[in-house]
């Protein structure tokens, strides 16, 4: 390699690796502060009702238990989008697990006694528990009609397009179910107060969301709220908005008790009370010409937002914008609504609305292909977006359109056509363990917008600061959290490469709102592409400052100073970056660059009409799943999974492929084994024993291909990868299951019980 200090594209050791493999990494529950109390939450016991009384057992006062109720909250709202969710219920209970009161005790062992000592008097009301109930809006949970948000995308004229003679019409309704994040580290925070205000330490994806919530509910100022992320054991969106709630609870208990308070959820409480993926029902009507060309798409999206609005408008937006899939279509109408129900608020989860609508369009493409007698892969290839195509919002795809490369790579790697033909002709097989199985293979193609939608990034103005430190070191200050995906490592790579300093001399500051600027939340596949680009800018800035100072010191024109690897050369000879920067720091004690995201100038987006450049760039993917379905038990085993995904540039290929594989397995689990069991608004299987995520024996062998079609707006060409892998797995598996069983299922999940029901009901073959 010409440049020995190229870090981008290299698999450097992840910076938090040693701490994690030695057990030294301190997660929230590993921390203990002096005099700390343990807090817990009293929750509602009905899905809907009026809280008319709270009685507190004298035992609590006698034993010094701190009790917090709605009366203790300065402003009873968890600030987010609509501010409709209270920190603690005052009167109206809107779901089964709402926080009603809080208790804190010296000893963890006393928490159950304390919790039982707060008694609620409740008048139950009839809950709204399904999308159909919500549509009827007989006793609305939200507004007059239960509608939390609606969007409409119109391109061309669907009604006119329908008139074209000879079109083949296809109609289908597709369902997806809830999904639990099931990060292995449950949610938890520690809060305390001191002269500088309120402090929160926790397992948190978005420290500034918590900061905002603290300011509002506790009526503290910007500088009086301090939120720090601890090492976080997975998030996947689950620690995006919910930590505001648990942080407020701990802070309220800490305020009232005057002591630090730790609140850590048990697994059951975490599964019940925190957010999960929105269920959805998507109806698609399409018209296509006999050669497979899509003429129009008419799509109706319904999502279940749960009891409060939380992030539902944004989730619905992303679902709406991905509803057509990565397919060219001249006339499109998408109507999307999110409805309120008396279930815990659904929230951010990897993919953020897109996996729901992509499930629908991908299943629909399979239907359409079968109806037209066109191979499923060929139909996709025929309609797949290529450079120059125009999306449903009118965005012309100008650069970094890698869908076709992904399709080619995955089809080739999997030998898709040979397998598809073989599985179609072969009979029942004996699997390695002797079971009788039928095999199948299926594919999906998809795209995922990276970064915030439309003008989001422009409005947000994410910021990053890079400091020059002694010895030619850099410190990156950003609010983007590493929740396992490897942000710290990748940011250090970007800064090292941009400033041409050794990787080991870049430190990434622990995200704390007091010490890092607001880079925006760690969401939306924006960390590398958007925040990473600011890291790159700021690091370059700092290096430029050093270079300018070298020129000044040696009294030469700046352009005569060449910045090489960790050094500068010029007429004066060679000087190390460290020497030069220490000299600069001697003159100027603070050498920092605080940069803000600068969106490309040509980006246009209209929030009112939902037209324009929905995302600065899209990542692309093709997933192919091979399955064996047991002919006796209808158990599906995904044996192999080929993922080819266009990420622009893999800054760290191992971490990047890790995102692809981990996200894909979440999609596989969502499809074949994960399911929540509800009864009267309560979850009956809130345990890891009964909510079935894949083990190492259930997981397929992954064959991952990273495609790199660079996006000039991202750092070194990189786009987002966080969410994309969640999008295509479920439909690819369903397509494969369909080949194996003849069952064309339009609803997730595909549990053996669901396949049996379909078999018995004579689902279309």
């Amino acid at each position: 390699m010409a440049d020995a200090r190229l870090y981008v594209g290299q698999n450097v050791p992840r910076v938090d690796g040693v701490a994690k493999v030695t057990g030294a990494a301190k997660y929230l529950d590993d921390l203990h502060l002096p005099d700390m109390l343990h807090g817990a939450t009293v929750r509602s016991e009905v899905a809907r009702g009026r809280l008319t009384g709270l009685a507190v057992d004298p035992w609590l006062a006698e034993h010094g238990v701190t009790v917090v109720t709605a009366e203790d909250v300065p402003e009873n709202v968890v600030a987010l989008i609509e501010d409709d969710q209270p920190v603690l219920v005052r009167e109206h209970i809107r779901h089964r697990y709402e926080p009603v009161a809080l208790v804190a005790c010296e000893r963890k062992e006393d928490l159950q006694r304390a919790l039982a000592g707060v008694r609620q008097t409740v008048t139950p009301e009839a809950p709204v528990l399904s999308l159909d109930d919500a549509l009827r809006a007989e006793s609305p949970v939200h507004g007059p009609d239960n509608i939390q948000k609606r969007y409409r995308i119109v391109k061309g004229d669907v009604d006119r397009a329908r008139q074209e003679p000879g079109l083949v019409f296809t109609e289908g309704t597709y369902h997806v179910h809830h999904q639990e994040h099931l990060y292995i580290e449950p949610q938890g925070v520690i809060a305390w107060w001191d002269a500088s205000g309120v402090h929160v330490l926790g397992s948190i994806q978005c420290p500034y969301y918590v900061h905002k919530a603290l300011k509002r509910a506790l009526k503290v100022t910007d500088t009086e709220a301090h939120v720090t992320q601890t090492v976080t054991g997975g998030g996947f969106g689950g620690k995006e908005e919910y930590p505001s709630m648990i942080a407020l609870h701990a802070a309220l208990l800490a305020k009232k008790s005057g002591r630090p308070v730790k609140v850590v959820y048990g697994r059951g409480e975490d599964m019940e009370a925190t957010t999960r993926r929105h269920p959805a029902r998507v109806k698609i009507t399409s018209g296509a010409r006999s050669d497979g060309t899509l003429a129009f798409l008419d799509i109706d999206v319904l999502m279940d937002g749960g009891a409060y609005v939380t992030l539902t408008p944004v989730v619905l937006s992303r679902g709406t914008l991905h509803a057509t899939g990565p397919y060219r279509c001249p006339d499109v109408r998408v109507v999307a609504r999110a409805l309120a129900t008396n279930t815990p608020p659904n929230g951010a989860f990897r993919g953020f609305g897109a996996p729901q609508t992509i499930w629908a369009i991908e299943r629909h493409m399979d239907r359409l292909a079968d109806q037209l007698g066109i191979e499923r892969e060929a139909l996709r290839r025929h309609n797949l977006f290529v450079e120059g195509d125009v999306t449903a919002t009118g965005q012309t795809l100008k650069v970094s359109v890698g869908g076709m490369q992904c399709l080619d790579a995955a089809v080739k790697a999997s030998d898709y056509y040979a397998k598809r033909a073989q599985y179609a002709s072969e009979g029942v097989q004996r699997a390695a363990d002797g079971r009788r199985v039928r095999r199948g293979i299926g594919l999906s193609t998809f795209f995922h917008g990276a970064g915030f939608t439309g003008s989001g990034e422009r409005r947000l103005k994410g910021r990053v600061q890079v400091d020059l430190e002694p010895g030619g070191s850099l410190r990156v200050r950003s609010a983007s959290t590493d929740i396992g995906q490897g942000t710290e490592t990748v940011f250090a790579q970007l800064a090292a490469q941009a400033a041409r300093v050794p990787f080991a001399r870049v430190a990434v500051e622990q995200p704390c709102t007091t010490h890092v600027p607001d880079s925006g939340p760690t969401v939306a596949s924006r960390t590398v592409m958007v925040v990473g680009s600011i890291v790159e800018l700021a690091a370059r800035d700092v290096a430029e400052r050093v270079r300018a100072d070298v020129a000044r010191h040696h009294a030469v024109a700046p352009e005569r100073v060449t910045h090489g690897d960790d050094s500068f050369t010029g007429p004066f000879g060679e000087e190390s970056f460290a020497v030069a920067s220490d000299r600069l720091l001697g003159r100027e004690p603070r050498v920092v660059s605080l940069r803000q995201f600068e969106p490309p100038a040509d980006v246009f987006w209209d929030d009112d009409t939902y037209t324009g450049e929905a995302y600065p760039a899209y990542s692309w993917g093709c997933d192919i799943a091979a399955v064996e379905v047991d002919v006796d038990t209808l158990e599906t085993r995904v044996t192999d999974f080929w993922a080819a995904q266009d990420v622009g540039k893999a800054i760290h290929p191992v971490l990047c492929a890790g995102q692809v594989e981990g996200g894909s397995l979440q999609a596989v689990g969502w499809a074949v084994s994960e399911a929540l069991v509800w009864q009267d608004g309560a979850i009956k299987n809130a345990r890891m024993t009964n909510y079935i995520i894949p083990t190492s024996l259930d997981a397929p062998r992954f064959h991952t291909t990273l495609i790199e079609v660079p996006y000039p707006g991202g750092p070194f060409g990189a786009k987002g990868v966080g969410e994309l892998p969640m999008d295509g797995g479920a439909p690819a598996v369903a397509s494969a299951v369909e080949q194996a069983t003849g069952l064309a299922l339009d609803a997730l999940p595909l549990l053996p019980e669901d396949l049996l029901r379909a078999q018995r009901n004579g689902a279309p073959q």
Binding site: V18, K20, G23, H181, V654, T689, F702
Partner: protein, 160 residues
């Protein structure tokens, strides 16, 4: 009083005999490398070796450990350098959020101690009691296989 040899050091435990070994390790002995993910023997984050055999520390009453040996992730290190297994997990992308990693290391180290040349299926079986939600397992499995190769090479190099 219960006496347990933890990572080679005899420790007197004052927690009651029915306390979970997990709580004793984390709260009384300060060994927080052992994690709790579910409290019901499902996720494997609390895997430790009891007399050299992997068990879920959340399912063991500390009284049952009286006079026995417990090894936690902190006790797997053999010196200042990372073990080949730990190194491979970092380099191979086998650790993401890291919360399952200590348990994975304990299970995998037990496998490699008993079976220096496992195949992929054996690795997957040995890790089936350790749930991971980040990686899709492939990189963990591959890291363990790579570590087994390194360990074999080291052993063969040591004995001419």
């Amino acid at each position: 009083m219960t006496t347990v040899t933890v990572n080679g050091i005899p420790r007197e435990v004052s927690s009651g005999p029915l306390s979970r070994l997990l709580d004793v390790l984390r709260e009384e002995l300060g060994l927080t490398g052992t994690k709790e993910g579910c409290g019901e023997g499902e996720c494997g984050s609390c895997t430790v070796l009891l007399d050299g055999v992997p068990v879920n520390a959340c399912l063991v009453a500390v009284g049952q450990c009286d006079g026995r040996r417990v090894t936690t992730v902190e006790g797997l290190q053999e010196g200042p350098d990372l073990t080949p297994l730990a190194r491979c997990l970092i380099d191979g992308g086998g650790a993401q959020c890291g919360i399952c990693t200590p348990g994975m290391l304990v299970s995998a180290s037990h496998l490699l101690a008993r079976n220096p040349s496992p195949d992929e299926a054996q690795v997957r079986e040995a890790l089936a009691g350790n749930l991971c939600r980040c990686t899709g397992y492939q990189r963990i499995v591959d890291s363990v296989l790579e570590a087994s190769r390194l360990l074999r090479a080291r052993r063969e190099g040591a004995s001419p």
